[in-house]
C-alpha cells in the first residue's frame, strides 16, 4: 500500500449514524412502507448484495412485527447487469433468491445501503425486468449521499447525507463488519471505486 506517500493524509472517518440511529431509521422506514403501501399487502422485499441483504433482513423483521404477517423476502445479485464489468476482472457472483411467490404484480421494494450514482439501481431494475413484471418498484436506502448520474431517486431514505465526491461513505453492519455504524471520511484512492476506475482503467498492480 502506497497511501502513506500522499502529501495530504486522508483524515480519519467520522461517525454520522450509530447502531441505535440505524435501528430507529429501519423502524421508521418500515412504518413508512406500511403506511404508503396500505398495509404492505403485496410487498416483496429484495436486498441488493452485500449490505442491502443485511438491511432487508432487518427491515423484514420489523415489517413482520408491525403487520403480523410474513412479508416475502429475497436477494438480488446485480453483477451480471453492471455497466462497469469491463473495468475490472470478472467478479464472483452472489446468490439471487426470488421468493417462491415470484414478483409478478407485486410491489417490489429494493433495499440497499448507500444510494450514490444510481448505477446499481439501474442494474437492479434491468435484472428485475428479466425476472418478472412487478406492479411497481420502490427503493429504500439507509443513506442517500447525492451525486446521481442517472434519473433515479429513493422512495424511503434513512438519512440524506450531503457529501463531496472526495468523500467516501462507509456503512458497517454487525452481520458483516461486527458493529453498526455509518462513517464519512476521505475517499481512499487505493480502494479503487468504479468511478476512479472509469477515469483510469488500468488497475494498480
Amino acid at each position: 500500500m502506497t497511501a502513506s506517500q500522499d502529501s495530504t493524509q486522508p483524515r480519519p472517518p467520522h461517525q454520522v449514524l450509530d447502531g441505535a440511529d440505524i435501528s430507529r431509521v429501519i423502524t421508521r422506514i418500515a412504518h413508512e412502507i406500511v403506511e404508503r403501501a396500505k398495509g404492505a399487502e403485496d410487498v416483496v422485499l429484495l436486498g441488493i448484495h452485500t449490505r442491502g441483504v443485511h438491511l432487508s433482513r432487518r427491515l423484514h423483521a420489523r415489517l413482520t412485527q408491525i403487520t403480523g404477517r410474513e412479508i416475502p423476502l429475497g436477494t438480488l445479485d446485480i453483477t451480471m447487469y453492471r455497466d462497469d464489468l469491463r473495468l475490472k476482472p470478472a467478479r464472483a457472483l452472489e446468490h439471487t433468491e426470488i421468493p417462491s411467490g415470484g414478483i409478478d404484480g407485486k410491489l417490489v421494494i429494493l433495499v440497499d445501503d448507500v444510494l450514490f450514482s444510481g448505477r446499481t439501481i439501474r442494474a437492479a431494475l434491468d435484472a428485475l425486468g428479466d425476472i418478472g413484471r412487478p406492479r411497481a418498484v420502490q427503493l429504500a436506502v439507509l443513506v442517500d449521499r447525492g451525486h446521481r448520474e442517472l434519473p433515479i431517486r429513493a422512495d424511503y431514505v434513512g438519512k440524506n447525507l450531503p457529501t463531496s465526491l472526495r468523500e467516501a461513505v462507509q456503512v458497517r453492519l454487525s452481520d458483516s463488519d461486527g458493529h453498526d455504524a455509518v462513517l464519512v471520511g476521505d475517499r481512499d484512492y487505493a480502494a479503487r471505486s468504479s468511478q476512479a476506475l472509469a477515469a483510469d482503467p488500468i488497475p494498480a498492480p
Binding site: 445479485d77 464489468l85 469491463r86 470478472a90 457472483l93 434491468d126 425476472i131 418478472g132
Partner: protein, 324 residues
C-alpha cells in the same frame, strides 16, 4: 485466467469459483427470460474441426444466454477443407475481432498452440482436442458429482471415489477428469482392458484396475466411456460381446453400487455396449442432467474469461512502470 486449455491449469480455488458461479447461473434456466446482458458486444467463435452435437450446442446455448454474438465456424464446407492452416484461420478470426474462440480439433494440442501464439488476442477455450483434454466436460462432470455427493457452494469432492470405465486410451474426458478430480480431492480409479490404457498411466494420479466388479462396492460415481471406434486402427479387444460382458454396466452391476452412487456418461452412449438400456434409463443415470449442467458450466467459463476486463480492453500503450 485468460484461456481454458487444460484442466491442469485450474487451481482448486479456480475450480471452485467456476462450480459456484455455475451453481448461480443454473438458476437462470428456471426463469421466464433465460438471458443475461453480460457479454453484450463480445464475439465468440465456435471453431469446430470435428463433429460434435452436444458440446457445440451446449456452448452455443451458453453464449446466447450471456448475449454474446455467436459465430459458428465448421471445418466442413469452410476454407479449411480447401487446405487453410490453423494459423491462417486464427488470423482471419482475429481480423474479424473474435473475443473468444471455442475450439474443437482432431489434433491434440491445437488449442494450446492457439493460446500460446499471438495469432489471436482473444481467449481460447478448449472444447476437446484429439485424445488430449476436454476441460469443460470435466467441469460439468465435477459439477454433477458435487450436486449429488457433496452439495453446497464452496464444497469440493474430498474423499469421493470416482471410477472411470472403458476406453481411457482415446478419452480426453478421462484425462481432463482425472486432473480436475484430483485438484478437487477425489480419488479416481480407471477400469479398462490393458490395451485401452495409455502408456505411462502409472504416473497419473489414479488407481488402475482390470476388474470392474471388485471396484463397484467402493464407488461413489461410476463414469462409463464410449469405445471410440473412429480412433481405433487396431484390434484392442477380441469381440464387442466380450468387452460388454467384462466392462459394460448392466442392472446387476448397478445393484452392487452403494445406494447413493450415481452413473455418469459423457455421451454419446452406445446402448448394449458399455451401458445397458436398463441402466441408461434408470433414475441413477445422470446423462441428461450432465447435458443441462454443461450449459451452466460453459456460461460460468465464458463469464469468468470474458465478463470482466480482458486483454482486448486494455490500452496497449501503458507500460507497467507508469501504473505504479
Amino acid at each position: 485466467m485468460r484461456h481454458l486449455v487444460s484442466a491442469a491449469d485450474l487451481s482448486r480455488d479456480d475450480a471452485l469459483l467456476l462450480l459456484d458461479t455455475a451453481e448461480e447461473l443454473a438458476q437462470l434456466s428456471g426463469r421466464a427470460v433465460k438471458k443475461l446482458p453480460t457479454l453484450r458486444g463480445r464475439t465468440v467463435v465456435n471453431l469446430f474441426f470435428e463433429d460434435s452435437t452436444r458440446t457445440k450446442t451446449s456452448f452455443e446455448v451458453a453464449e446466447k444466454r450471456l448475449s454474446a454474438d455467436v459465430v459458428n465456424f465448421a471445418a466442413k464446407g469452410s476454407s479449411v477443407s480447401k487446405g487453410e492452416s490453423l494459423k491462417d484461420t486464427a488470423l482471419t478470426l482475429q481480423a474479424m475481432g473474435a473475443d473468444a474462440v471455442v475450439i474443437r480439433h482432431h489434433a491434440s494440442g491445437a488449442p494450446a498452440r492457439l493460446a500460446q501464439s499471438d495469432w489471436l488476442h482473444g481467449s481460447v477455450i478448449n472444447a476437446g482436442d484429439g485424445t488430449h483434454e476436454h476441460p469443460t466436460q470435466a467441469l460439468l462432470d465435477a459439477f454433477t458429482m458435487r450436486r449429488h455427493l457433496n452439495p453446497g457452494l464452496g464444497h469440493d469432492l474430498a474423499g469421493r471415489r470416482v471410477t472411470i470405465v472403458g476406453d481411457i486410451l482415446h478419452s480426453r474426458v478421462a484425462r481432463s477428469n482425472v486432473l480436475l478430480l484430483n485438484t478437487l480431492g477425489a480419488e479416481v480409479t480407471f477400469v479398462a482392458p490393458p490395451t485401452l490404457l495409455p502408456i505411462g498411466i502409472e504416473n497419473w494420479p489414479c488407481e488402475v484396475s482390470y476388474d470392474l466388479d471388485s471396484t463397484l462396492a467402493k464407488t461413489d460415481a461410476v463414469m462409463m466411456l464410449r469405445v471410440q471406434r473412429e480412433r481405433m486402427n487396431a484390434a484392442f479387444f477380441p469381440t464387442e460381446r466380450e468387452y460388454s460382458r467384462r466392462y459394460g454396466l448392466n442392472g446387476n452391476r448397478m445393484a452392487r453400487l452403494p445406494e447413493h452412487a450415481i452413473v455418469m456418461h459423457p455421451g454419446p452412449m452406445v446402448r448394449g455396449m458399455e451401458i445397458t438400456a436398463e441402466v441408461a434409463d434408470s433414475p441413477r443415470c445422470t446423462v441428461v442432467e450432465q447435458v443441462a449442467n454443461g450449459v451452466s458450466i460453459r456460461m460460468a467459463v465464458l463469464y469468468l474469461l470474458l465478463g470482466g476486463a480482458t486483454l482486448a480492453d486494455t490500452p496497449r500503450t501503458e507500460s507497467p512502470e507508469t501504473v505504479a
